[in-house]
């Protein structure tokens, strides 16, 4: 049962990721990436991380993709659409990518450590509560640092996108 759902979501996410890279129109890329993120959040549900799945949908599909679509709307993409994309245009990069993929696959498949079938039993069903406790007790300082980084990014984005007028 789980295997079937995993194969379905993995296949669709890989297909939409390929569509994202290969599409000529950036709007199509953005829509394919949105579908890919939805499938990845379904995979998070399979991994019993429901909080992460909800955060994935809120942050990526809700916020980041809306930002992307807004910027695509603001920018005139017609010139970018016209350019032809040839996968064989950059041969050294292509060879590098094939090497990278083969190396990672060989390393993963050769190792015995990744052959674990059964997950270690989780303690109780109250995962989200334990996650929140760990996040706000043990990892409070990184959490606050992340909030400061987000504030700096907010101010920086406003400063960068503002029109220059003295």
């Amino acid at each position: 049962m789980d295997e079937g759902f995993f194969l379905l979501f993995a296949t669709v996410s890989v297909a939409t990721a390929l569509t994202m890279v290969l599409a000529r129109n950036p709007v199509h890329s953005a829509l394919a990436l949105m579908a890919c993120f939805l499938n990845i959040s379904a995979i998070f549900v399979l991994l019993e991380a429901p909080l992460l799945a909800v955060i994935q949908i809120f942050v990526y599909v809700g916020a980041i993709m809306v930002l992307f679509v807004f910027v695509i709307m603001m920018i005139d993409v017609r010139e970018a659409v016209l350019q032809r994309f040839l996968p064989g245009g950059n041969l050294p990069a292509l060879v590098l990518l094939v090497l990278l993929g083969v190396e990672m696959l060989v390393l993963v498949l050769w190792s015995d450590r990744f052959s674990v079938m059964e997950p270690v039993a989780m303690s109780g069903g109250d995962d989200v509560r334990q996650l929140g406790t760990a996040l706000f007790a043990e990892y409070l300082l990184p959490f606050e640092t992340a909030s400061v980084i987000l504030l700096a990014a907010l101010v920086g984005a406003i400063m960068l996108a503002r029109k220059e007028q003295g």
Partner: protein, 100 residues
């Protein structure tokens, strides 16, 4: 149950596709979207290892990765808007201001 290497192989495939988008595409918007895909494939690995070893830290680090990604996208799109306003190009080869 799904063995863990299925998740890791999915992460590898998505990472290579994202790297292909970063290296082969010349459109800045698509390069940024490919960066998102790279970070997501790393998140899949974090959460899979966290689940199979019954450790919450995988999920916590995935939350931090998502937060930093949101900040990165906000700044990158601000830079992109400023760039298009000044140079009116979306091709990555035309942006050579920092070239020595």
């Amino acid at each position: 149950m799904v063995p863990i290497w299925w998740y890791i192989v999915l992460g590898v495939v998505l990472f290579v596709i994202g790297a292909a988008g970063v290296l082969l595409r010349r459109n800045i918007l698509v390069v940024l979207m490919s960066l998102e895909l790279l970070l997501n494939s790393v998140n899949i690995n974090f959460i899979a290892f966290g689940r199979y070893h019954a450790d919450f830290r995988g999920q916590i680090f995935a939350i931090f990765v998502i937060a930093i990604t949101a900040a990165e996208v906000a700044v990158a799109l601000g830079i992109l808007v400023a760039l298009v306003r000044n140079k009116s190009t979306l091709k990555i080869d035309d942006v050579t201001v920092m070239k020595g």
